[in-house]
Symmetry: none
Subunit: 243 residues, 2 copies
DNA sequence: TGAAGTTGTCTACTATCATAGACAACTTGG
DNA sequence: CCAAGTTGTCTATGATAGTAGACAACTTCA
């Protein structure tokens, strides 16, 4: 393999190496935490220069798939889903961008009434009728988070059954004519998973969770839904845009 | 789209353009004989320099998918299947790689005896018992070639019925324990289709055919099968590796 | 015949790809 | 502590990718 390949195929050599390593991670040849072969050894197996291997590893590291430790080796990262926190964040887009298949699943939909906090977040009166949706979201077959979502029962009648059919909050809102929405201020805390969430997230008891409270608004700033989500901390990593 | 894309993805820009045009040909947006948009127009639609478009078109032309006519335009070629002649050539892989579905079909299987030529090719004695298989191979629904294959009746008992069931020479050999095989020297000539082949290839009389004689060997060099294939010249194009 | 539009070819420039070698910085294990 | 092995960084070189502009050669059509 040489520069000729790039010329004839239009695919850079380092990309082929990176794809090969990524396939190795994907099909379990290299498990999370494993040490990859040394750069020299990789270079020999792919018959390329060590610098080309480094270019490939750098690309994988930038995506968070591997982590290089000077003097020791390069290791497969515990695969956390990078979850950028922006005003426009869609679970399906984030998970899909990582090459995983996003899925949503309804656990329970029930009527509820607004507490003082919920009423303030949603701009409603205390005791106003709400729909509460408990849902779980997965990447491929791994549960990522469980979330409790509250919507005004008057603005979104039958929201539960719509979510059950569409399995997507974005599509639910679309169904009610909301074309776009933004995430408002997001509060992030951490805690220990409780028994019911542990079962739903397929987590051992005592593991840490990331708790996210957020309210989505339409483009005019009117509150639409407010959520209380619990993420399996070992499976996700929030990225705050620095700028 | 800019040079940044190449850097970040490892896929050359011209490759993306070439793939886009090829997809257009594959899904019928550009039919055989059609004139492609001018290089300038393609450059604008892909937001790329004209030279980059030319690189893409050159790659497609080299594979025989398009043909440029100076002063007039670039046209989609009558689609010939590119058939690389290597030591390891499998009809199904070649056709499958072109996005077409390979099929094989048994016409006739009969007992035969080795002539002097066949005996020499297969390393047998003159008059040794052989199985002769007449088969036709198609891509999608288009007949590509008819071939006559001879095997030793002693080494491959009942080869005819095995081929009828598997419709693949590779699988037939697998059935008899041959895990891999290589093509030896290949003789290529041309001729005019005869009446029986014309009917089988769905060709008008008088059309040219490519005649290929080859013998496959196992990895130890022992002859396995010898073939006499007739390809519809207008539907295929052999690629000889230059190196 | 001539103008417009097409592909072919040339030069020039910058950035990236890939290779090569050397050495520094660091970790691990004896 | 030392040696071996690992990743990080630097310089250097040549080939390729992509952009840019200009002009030649050719075809088509009015």
């Amino acid at each position: 393999m040489s520069m000729q390949d790039t010329a004839s195929t239009g695919v850079a050599l380092w990309r082929l190496v990176a794809d090969g390593i990524e396939r190795g991670i994907a099909d379990g040849r290299f498990a999370a935490g494993d040490k990859l072969p040394g750069e020299m050894e990789i270079a020999e197996t792919y018959r390329v220069n060590r610098h080309t291997v480094r270019r490939a590893l750098a690309a994988l590291a930038e995506r968070g798939l591997v982590r290089a430790e000077r003097g020791s080796g390069t290791y497969v990262e515990a695969q956390r889903i990078a979850y950028p926190l922006r005003s426009r964040t869609r679970f399906s887009e984030i998970v899909g961008a990582g090459g995983r298949e996003p899925r949503g699943q309804l656990i329970e939909a029930a009527d509820d009434v607004a507490t003082r906090e919920l009423a303030r977040e949603l701009g409603l009166k205390v005791g106003a009728p709400l729909v509460r949706i408990e849902a779980i979201r997965l990447a491929d077959r791994t549960p990522i988070c469980v979330s409790t979502t509250w919507l005004s029962a008057e603005l979104f009648p039958d929201a539960g059954s719509v979510f059950a059919a569409t399995r997507s909050m974005t599509k639910l809102l679309e169904h009610f004519g909301v074309r776009d929405y933004r995430r408002g201020a997001t509060r992030i805390t951490a805690g220990i998973v409780d028994a019911t969430d542990a079962a739903r997230l397929d987590l051992p008891l005592g593991r840490p969770i990331l708790v996210v409270d957020a309210t989505d608004h339409d483009l005019d700033g009117k509150p639409l839904v407010t959520k209380h989500s619990r993420f399996a901390a070992e499976r996700v990593e929030f990225l705050v845009e620095n700028g």
